[in-house]
């Protein structure tokens, strides 16, 4: 299982990946909004760790830059933006009624993880890149879990965190396959994330002011009836 070239780094990367996936499952399953945010911060830290490990292995300064950008934007800036735009009361709420109860969501999450691994195995077999075997399937699995979180949760902030978890998954897969994206593109993609969070945070605030709650999953007035 371990890549022949980098046994220890590969093992640590695999461990990081497994914990990364656990945080993605956690964001899907926790009831408390604040816990979702803390899990997201943990997930971003794990992404940074993976980027650093790959940077050491592949000797690529770009990956260290990606790690630095991730730490700044995702662990520091985004929680700060969210705290400022969405009031503290939202963080004390819990989702009491869910679209799908937690054990069923967890089972569907397990099925999604299996599907992601199955989808990525022909690709990983075809193109042999170190670490892609670990990062690609886990990144795609985190993407599927993030999509399912956006669909399955009712509260606004966990939906947003599902979206951000999806992006984390993309970058987790990305650091293995594109160790040297042009700097401009990296910076642009990095700047994009806080802007998304800012927009969504302000929108959440507006929703709370006008509608009175942030359970956006319950807003369903626009229909064909």
């Amino acid at each position: 299982m371990m890549s022949a070239q980098f046994p220890i780094l590969s093992a640590l990367d695999a461990l990081t990946g497994a914990l990364f996936l656990l945080t993605a499952i956690g964001i899907l399953a926790t009831r408390q909004v604040l816990a979702s945010l803390q899990l997201f911060i943990a997930q971003s830290l794990l992404l940074t760790l993976s980027a650093v490990l790959l940077g050491i292995a592949l000797k690529s300064p770009h990956l260290f830059a990606v790690a630095a950008i991730t730490i700044c934007t995702k662990t520091v800036m985004i929680p700060w933006i969210l705290r400022r735009t969405v009031s503290a009361e939202v963080y004390r709420t819990r989702e009491i009624q869910r679209v799908l109860n937690i054990p069923s969501s967890l089972l569907i999450a397990a099925i999604l993880i299996i599907i992601a691994h199955a989808l990525m195995s022909p690709l990983v077999a075809a193109v042999k890149v170190p670490f892609a075997q670990i990062n690609l399937p886990l990144g795609l699995a985190a993407m599927f879990l993030g999509t399912f979180t956006v669909v399955a949760r009712r509260e606004a902030v966990p939906q947003l965190l599902g979206l951000l978890a999806l992006e984390n998954g993309v970058f987790f897969a990305g650091v293995a396959i594109v160790p040297s994206l042009p700097v401009i593109a990296e910076l642009a993609a990095a700047v994009d994330v806080p802007v998304v969070v800012l927009v969504i945070g302000l929108l959440t605030r507006q929703i709370r002011q006008v509608v009175g709650m942030t359970a956006v999953g319950l807003l369903a007035s626009l229909r064909e009836e």
């Binding site: 299982m1 046994p7 093992a11 497994a18 914990l19 054990p103 967890l106 397990a110 195995s121 075997q133």
Partner: protein, 316 residues
């Protein structure tokens, strides 16, 4: 061969005698963590001694199951103790009598009799606790099976001794993601099976909220002593499986002389102490879950074990 049997019996004596000590240490450490003084660590021995000398009162409406259960429950962990590595790193005489699934079945047999005995009494809390235990057990079974499946698949065998050799022979295998995830899943399982927080409160006295303890409410005298001892032994057996098979074989005797085996005992006790510290920390920081939230807890354990299995399978 005789030496092998002797060491196996030594293992047995170790389990029987150390089990109340582990329970005593756990409750004392928990109290210490809450800045209280706590009972002496030898208190469970005194409790057992007291109970053994007391009269036993048995309802004449109950059947043979009620009378037989304390002995069955006491015997079950003993048989399992013959199969798992407790003091030695190499298989002993009875080691191939049953594998991990067999050990799981034997423990389940003990639990089955305890549940039946609880229903046998006319105490209203007995059947309630029994049905709740069945619910928790029903949810915990898939986790057990997936954990054992993954472990056996990786090691190529279901005998605990062989599994233990393979798991941590190169040290990097310790950090394998499937290993770490299995540890987490099995820890959640121990919490569920043994009635620890967050599933059940071991020191609670409120019968309406009991899951595990209400099964032994009706016993008195010798029966109560055996049930308590059996509970402590089951706990110790699960800890031994966790610590010696899944985590690391460090501290187990490699040599075949009796001295090596005896010297392994304090080292194993040290490992168990480490686990108890972790357990006490978890118990003190979480709150007991509402009954129907236990499904979520065990569902999470199931998903973690499935993820462990997938990350293992996909990498091969």
């Amino acid at each position: 061969m005789a030496l092998g049997i002797f060491h196996n019996l030594l293992q047995l004596v170790f389990i029987i005698s150390v089990a109340p000590l582990v329970e005593g240490v756990t409750s004392r450490l928990k109290e210490n963590l809450q800045s209280k003084r706590g009972p002496s660590i030898f208190q469970p021995y005194r409790d057992l001694w007291k109970l053994l000398r007391k009269d036993e009162i048995v309802s004449d409406r109950s059947s043979w199951i009620f009378r037989a259960t304390p002995y069955v429950c006491f015997a079950a962990p003993i048989f399992v103790a013959l199969l798992i590595p407790v003091l030695t790193a190499y298989p002993l005489f009875f080691a191939f009598m049953g594998d991990m699934l067999g050990g799981g079945f034997i423990l389940a047999l003990g639990g089955f009799f305890a549940t039946l005995a609880a229903v046998d009494t006319a105490n209203p809390y007995g059947p309630m606790g029994a049905s709740r235990t069945r619910m928790v057990g029903f949810l915990a079974e898939p986790v057990f099976i997936v954990v054992f499946l993954t472990v056996s698949f990786v090691a190529g065998s279901t005998i605990p001794y062989i599994v233990q050799q393979r798991w941590v022979t190169p040290l990097s295998n310790f950090f394998e993601p499937s290993h770490v995830l299995l540890l987490i899943a099995f820890l959640m399982l121990i919490l569920a099976e043994d009635g620890r927080i967050p599933v059940d409160s071991p020191s609670g006295l409120f019968e309406l909220a009991m899951i595990d303890r209400s099964k032994s409410l009706e016993y008195s005298g010798r029966g109560a002593a055996l049930m308590r001892w059996a509970g402590a032994m089951k706990f110790l057996v699960l800890i031994c499986i966790f610590v010696n098979v899944l985590v690391t074989p460090w501290g187990l005797a490699k040599g075949t002389s009796s001295l090596d085996v005896l010297l392994a005992a304090p080292l194993v006790l040290l490992k168990i102490l480490g686990f108890v510290l972790v357990l006490v920390y978890i118990e003190s920081s979480l709150a007991k879950l509402r009954l129907f939230r236990i499904t979520e807890f065990l569902g999470a354990a199931l998903v973690i074990s499935i993820v462990a299995m997938i990350t293992n399978l996909s990498a091969i």
